[in-house]
């Protein structure tokens, strides 16, 4: 039962009827099909490609989660169920192989996320409902810790840990809220209450999602939180929860207004989303850099326009799919399938497969592009089956 609870909490956080802070969020009214585009140089001051060293030891599949520290890229790879650290120059540093951890239920995905504690220069990942292993940045296992609450967690400075947890079946008193703030064993704040054992959601209404719903903001004191069936962005700190933005989409792609509250959808939500694949059922990977909002939308159907940048001063929506490669990025890819993965407060990061990199190079062979030494070496010595390439983009910030 505990494992199921964990899964539920990992897969989706669904909730309704929250007691939200008395703050009016800014409405971001957008039509995802009308996103603008332009050359990459119009949006980014600099695009840097960092090939990750490919050796038999460092070979991995995809960048499923990325965290950028001062010295390292920390990468979770679902394919090999391992966590790899590369230096900021792309040199392989160390690798932690997780084996079958997380795959006990025949899940194709093992470890679903890791959480960095930047203050302690550690990161950890859950190995079951109640335990997590803690590593340093050299891949050494430091200790095993008990996890006081199930579900996702995120470290804030000065010992505060955020937990998110949603249970359909049980009614533990600590879990009657989706979010909890804990410090030194003391839960001192709860937000997003929900009624457990209600008849509004059935198991079939939960959309499986592997990753955590916390996304780092580039500021260690702030983290963003998103969830399914909800177009709100939640900004969390050690002592507050605010709702800075709420997104409004065209009616044709929006969920019915009572989607998360009406019993009429009990057990039918998944089917309804399959029948209406354009419905946006959630937001993901939200972060804010100055006047720019970076985010993704989640739909059942296929849509290449799924990652966006929103410019607050001009209310301009930019579809990353339509950011066209140009000479400043050597006509190479600027978007990966997972959208923007993280931010360090200055840059945003994504990753591209070597297959995509080589195909992009071949497509513009006639242009005789002069690559940077790093890329020239990568193309000369690498091949399509090499490790992915980290793409570091520095957005153009309009100074007031």
């Amino acid at each position: 039962m505990k494992i199921k609870q964990l899964l539920y909490s990992c897969f989706a956080m669904v909730c309704f009827a929250q007691n939200l802070p008395a703050q009016s969020p800014q409405k971001i009214r957008i039509d995802p099909s009308q996103g603008e585009g332009g050359p990459v140089s119009a949006f980014f001051e600099e695009v840097k490609y960092i090939p990750l060293e490919t050796t038999p030891q460092s070979l991995f599949g995809q960048v499923s989660q990325l965290y950028v520290t001062d010295g390292y890229f920390i990468i979770l790879d679902y394919d090999t169920n391992s966590i790899l650290l590369f230096t900021k120059e792309g040199k392989f540093h160390c690798k932690i192989e997780m084996g079958n951890i997380g795959k006990e239920n025949s899940s194709p995905i093992g470890v679903r996320f890791f959480v960095v504690n930047p203050g302690r220069k550690e990161f950890s990942c859950k190995i079951n409902d109640s335990k997590r292993w803690v590593y340093d940045f050299d891949g050494r296992k430091l200790r095993e810790e008990n996890v006081p609450m199930p579900g996702n967690y995120y470290f804030l400075p000065e010992g505060t840990t955020l937990f998110s947890w949603y249970s359909l079946k049980n009614n533990p008193s600590d879990s009657a809220y989706e979010l909890a703030w804990e410090n030194k064993g003391n839960i001192y704040r709860r937000e997003l209450p929900y009624a457990v054992k209600n008849a509004v959601f059935g198991n079939g209404d939960i959309i499986r999602k592997a990753t955590t719903h916390f996304t780092e903001s580039g500021n260690d004191n702030i983290v963003y939180y998103t969830k399914q069936y909800d177009y709100n962005i939640y900004r969390l700190s050690a002592d507050s929860m605010t709702r800075p933005y709420t997104f409004v989409f065209p009616l044709t792609v929006s969920l019915p207004s009572d989607f998360s509250t009406s019993i009429a959808y009990y057990g039918k939500r998944f089917e309804l989303l399959k029948q209406n694949p354009k419905f946006i059922y959630g937001l993901s990977n939200f972060f804010e850099l100055n006047h720019l909002l970076f985010f993704g939308i989640e739909q059942m159907g296929w849509n290449m326009d799924n990652t966006f940048i929103y410019d607050l001063p001009t209310s301009t929506l930019i579809s990353v799919n339509h950011i066209d490669a140009d000479s400043t990025n050597y006509f190479l890819p600027v978007q990966a399938s997972r959208g923007f993965l993280t931010t360090d407060g200055v840059h945003v990061y994504t990753a591209a497969s070597s297959l995509a990199m080589f195909e992009a190079r071949d497509a513009v062979a006639k242009k005789k592009v002069k690559y940077s030494p790093v890329l020239a070496d990568y193309f000369a010595r690498g091949k399509e089956s090499n490790n992915p390439v980290i793409i570091q983009l520095k957005p153009k910030i309009k100074r007031p």
């Binding site: 332009g38 079958n100 025949s106 066209d324 297959l355």
Partner: protein, 924 residues
């Protein structure tokens, strides 16, 4: 891993960016530019760019823009005004006129701005339609943009599309991947498969041809299957097409056939009828439809069945087919009824000369030569139907059917047995008249919901047979001579039923929290009953009165019940490296126990038995797939199985009938079940290469069958033989199948290579006159086919096949039997003009069998057809068959210690004039 669907779109679209349609002129101009959305400030990728002559609506060349929105054409005519048309879903088309000067031979059209708009300008739509475009994740082709004949059909269009191969055997591949079905409006079109829609539907009725991935596998785009859907124009969604054909020829040969097919958005109905005396018999409506298409036979060398069939058959066939959808069909919902009915009546006359050589343990050979005439009249009614209702997570289906068969035959035979000095040992003359009727009604079905999968079936049959056999046997020993005049009346009632259910993923077996295997459980139950009442009377030679034959007259009541519970343990390992490879390995073990009960009650005490057996029949295997992204996919399966087999009622209960003097068969009620042990391995290689894809399949198997049901024969010097089935050890076998094919396409030419190889080596134990022997048999068949197509003018198909059989019986005399049949076939079809087509095919046949004279014969057919009427609905065809008058029908059959070579009468030379009308109305 989740691989985005744009990856497979890339794989579909890239060939069209790189392999744009080649210009029709030998010109040197180049044109470049970028397609841009100036309102939203981005380039348009995969936009369609087509170049037309100023006064033409057929594109000279076309491309999809690349990832940077660029296009670049070469080979464009110079000094000729041209138009470049850009189109993109959701945008208004843009037209740019240009002329390339002979001096510059290059035109940079710069940035072409396109505006999003709800609808294209009407005049642009009418004049310039994009040949190909990406619409979301679907690649769409517009038939109007391709240079096709006025009366072209969808298949002609498919042959024009880059990356699409229409193979000589009718199958279709897109970028190396086989298209499993061609749908029309998202539904099967007059049956599943690809052979009805593509050669019948005119391009004028088609709005677009869509190519897409069915149920894309999100973890690996290359894992999913490719499907083609033909979307009809709004005013063409209903229609009718068919064929009416009358042929008459020399020797009073005639060939009539017709079919009418009517379709609406919800319903499809087919009516068919055929009547001929040229051996054209179709087993079902699907075959009739597939071989009477508007497009015609082309250079097919497979559809020449009438000359390979023994005797002369005069079939009359009629039937109907129905498909109706009660509600709209989509990926998740089906609510469909299909039904087929076919009546078949045929008269066949066969004259056969047979030579059977038997090896005896004395080192001698016994040769039986016979001449038979066989007159057969059959009448058959077949009905089958299927109702299927599918929702998101459950599927229900029910399949009622019935059949009625009546066979009336008269066989007159005269057989002589000789020893190897050609001395006559005996002779037998026989006349056999038979009237047999068989009626079967059946119903089966299935229900799937989530983890539960069930199937069931039930059928009941009744057979009646009235038979008279008169025979005169004469031997060198007059004491053995006898005259028989025997009447039979056999009535049989039989039932069969089965029920199977499976619960998938019932539990997970863990050790220390680690999943070891998933567990399925289920059971299969089957029951078969066979109740026979046989009354046999012999005419008294003296009085002529019928006397009851108390040996052959009997009543039997046989039943076989089996129950097989099982559990299945399975474990799948995945290894995935995004954008590089995806591997999965599935190990499984079936733990099955089969409990079977066989019993028979009969008037003869020696036929009575009942026995219960209990046998562990495990299966185990491995399935491994390895997909290298963009390169190939290999599927390897290997398995071990134990399969039970039970003696048939005939093997158990037959009573030796002295009228079958050279081939009496007796029953053996002591036969025990046998359990076949087999190891099988197969490898399927599917190439994803866009150019010259090379695919192959290799299958190997080997096994042994302890308790094999073999033959125990007693043959005397006169050739009188009686056979009993007996349990024997020592049967083993191994075999291999190989299939490979490759296609090379150049513009409008295609060169295809296909090869097949089948070989099987077996040791079959038997008894001959109480002596145990093993017959080592080796069967081989190899066939290679080369095809060349120059659209639309020429199709050439050449094939070489080789069949070889050899058997050796060491324990008897060490002699061996062998036969070989080598056939070389060639077919050429040439479109002399759009209306006139000449077709000719020729096959050279060489047959060589032990003890028989070598036979060589050549069959040469030729025809000329001319299409007339405005839509070429009319066809007149003159055909000449077997121009060299050499056709014979030879059958070689080897079994254990004997080899039989049969020569049958067959169709011989005739000439036929055929008039055909193809009624066609697509739309109102």
């Amino acid at each position: 891993m989740r691989l985005p669907r744009w990856i497979w779109v890339l794989f579909l679209a890239v060939p069209f960016a790189g392999l744009s349609q080649q210009p029709q002129h030998t010109n040197t101009g180049e044109v470049e530019g970028i397609v841009f959305d100036s309102l939203h400030h981005y380039v348009l990728r995969a936009a369609t760019v087509a170049i037309y002559g100023a006064d033409s609506t057929r594109p000279i060349s076309y491309q999809l823009t690349n990832a940077l929105g660029e296009f670049a054409f070469k080979g464009i005519p110079v000094e000729i005004p041209c138009k470049l048309v850009c189109s993109y879903v959701g945008y208004k088309s843009t037209i740019r006129s240009f002329t390339i000067s002979r001096q510059q031979v290059f035109a940079d059209l710069g940035t072409l701005n396109m505006l999003a708009g709800p609808k294209d300008l009407e005049e642009v739509v009418v004049s310039y339609t994009p040949p190909v475009r990406m619409n979301g994740d679907t690649l769409e082709f517009n038939p109007n943009a391709f240079q096709l004949g006025e009366n072209a059909v969808v298949e002609d269009l498919l042959r024009k599309l880059p990356g699409v191969i229409v193979w000589g055997d009718g199958s279709i591949t897109v970028n190396g991947r086989e298209v499993k079905s061609v749908l029309v409006e998202g539904k099967p079109f007059f049956g599943n498969g690809t052979r009805v829609a593509t050669p019948n539907i005119p391009k004028d009725a088609v709005e677009k041809v869509q190519v897409y991935q069915k149920a894309p596998n999100t973890s690996n785009a290359m894992d999913s299957s490719t499907e083609v859907n033909i979307k009809l124009k709004d005013n063409k969604k209903s229609g009718a097409f068919g064929k009416g054909s009358v042929g008459y020829g020399t020797r009073e040969r005639f060939d009539l056939d017709g079919n009418l097919n009517v379709f609406t958005p919800r319903t499809q109905v087919t009516l068919v009828a055929a009547h001929n005396n040229v051996n054209k018999t179709a087993p079902d409506i699907k075959t009739l439809l597939e071989n009477s298409t508007y497009q015609g036979e082309g250079a097919s060398i497979d559809y020449q069945p009438e000359f390979g069939q023994p005797g002369i058959t005069r079939p009359l066939e009629a039937g109907f087919s129905l498909q109706h959808d009660f509600s709209k069909t989509d990926n998740f919902h089906t609510n469909r009824l299909t039904a087929d009915y076919l009546f078949n009546q045929a008269q066949t006359a066969i004259a056969t000369n047979t030579r059977t050589t038997n090896a005896l343990q004395t080192g001698d050979q016994l040769i039986i030569e016979s001449q038979n005439t066989h007159a057969l009249t059959t009448a058959r009614h077949q009905f089958s139907s299927r109702y299927e209702k599918k929702d998101f997570d459950q599927t229900f289906m029910i399949l009622p059917s019935f059949s009625y068969n009546n066979n009336r035959s008269r066989i007159v035979s005269s057989a002589v047995s000789t020893d190897h000095f050609s001395t006559i040992q005996s002779q037998n003359k026989m006349e056999n008249t038979n009237d047999a009727t068989d009626r079967v009604i059946g119903i089966s079905g299935g229900y799937d919901k989530k983890k539960l999968h069930t199937t069931w079936s039930f059928s009941a049959g009744q057979a009646n047979n009235g038979q008279t056999i008169r025979s005169l046997f004469q031997s060198t020993d007059p004491a053995k001579d006898r005259l028989l005049d025997r009447n039979y009346s056999n009535d049989k009632d039989y039932l069969s039923g089965s029920l199977a259910f499976n619960f998938a993923n019932l539990a997970v077996i863990r050790l220390n929290g680690v999943s070891l295997a998933s567990l399925d459980a289920g059971a299969e139950a089957a029951v078969n009953t066979d109740k026979q009442l046989n009354n046999v009377y012999d005419k008294d030679p003296a009085s002529g009165d019928p006397l009851r034959n108390n040996y052959l007259s009997n009543e039997t009541n046989y039943s076989l019940l089996s129950v097989t519970p099982y559990v299945r343990l399975g474990k799948t390992f995945y290894k995935n490296l995004s954008f590089r490879y995806s591997r999965s390995t599935n190990l499984y073990v079936y733990l099955k126990e089969q409990l079977a009960h066989q019993q028979n009650s009969a008037g003869h005490w020696f036929q009575q038995f009942h026995r219960t057996t209990n046998q562990f029949i495990p299966q185990a295997g491995i399935r491994h797939s390895n997909t290298r992204f963009g390169k190939f996919r290999n599927e390897l399966t290997a398995g071990f199985s134990i399969t039970p087999g039970y003696a048939s009622p005939g093997q158990l209960l037959a009573l030796a009938d002295s009228t079958q003097i050279y081939n009496m068969v007796g029953g053996n009620p002591n036969l025990q079940p046998f359990y076949k042990r087999e190891i099988a391995l197969s490898l399927l290689h599917s190439s994803y290469r866009r150019k010259a894809p090379f695919n192959y399949t290799i299958a190997l198997k080997g096994g042994s069958v302890p308790n094999f049901i073999g033959d125990s024969a007693s043959i005397d010097k006169d050739g009188q033989a009686i056979h009993y089935a007996v349990n024997l050890n020592g049967y083993r076998y191994m075999g291999a199948d190989l299939m490979l094919r490759q296609s090379f396409n150049f513009n409008n030419q295609a060169f295809q290579v296909m090869a097949k190889l089948n070989t099987e080596l077996s040791d079959r134990p038997n008894y001959l006159n109480q002596v145990y022997y093993v017959s080592r048999q080796w069967n081989n068949r190899a066939e290679g086919t080369l095809g060349y197509y120059l659209e639309p003018y020429l199709a050439v198909n050449i094939s070489q096949s080789f069949s070889w059989y050899r058997s050796k019986q060491d324990q008897i005399n060490g002699n061996y039997f062998s036969n070989a049949l080598i056939t070389t076939r060639a077919c050429i079809s040439a479109g002399i003009t759009e209306k006139l087509t000449l077709t000719s095919n020729i096959s050279f046949n060489n047959n060589n069998a032990t003890g028989a004279a070598k036979t060589h014969f050549t069959i040469w057919n030729a025809s000329a057809s001319y299409r007339f009427l405005k839509k070429q609905n009319g066809e007149v065809r003159f055909s000449a068959y077997d121009l060299l008058r050499q056709n014979v029908n030879i059958l070689n059959e080897g079994a254990n210690n004997n080899l039989t070579v049969s020569t049958n009468n067959a169709l011989r030379q005739y000439f036929m004039l055929t008039l055909t009308y193809f009624p066609r109305k697509f739309g109102k």
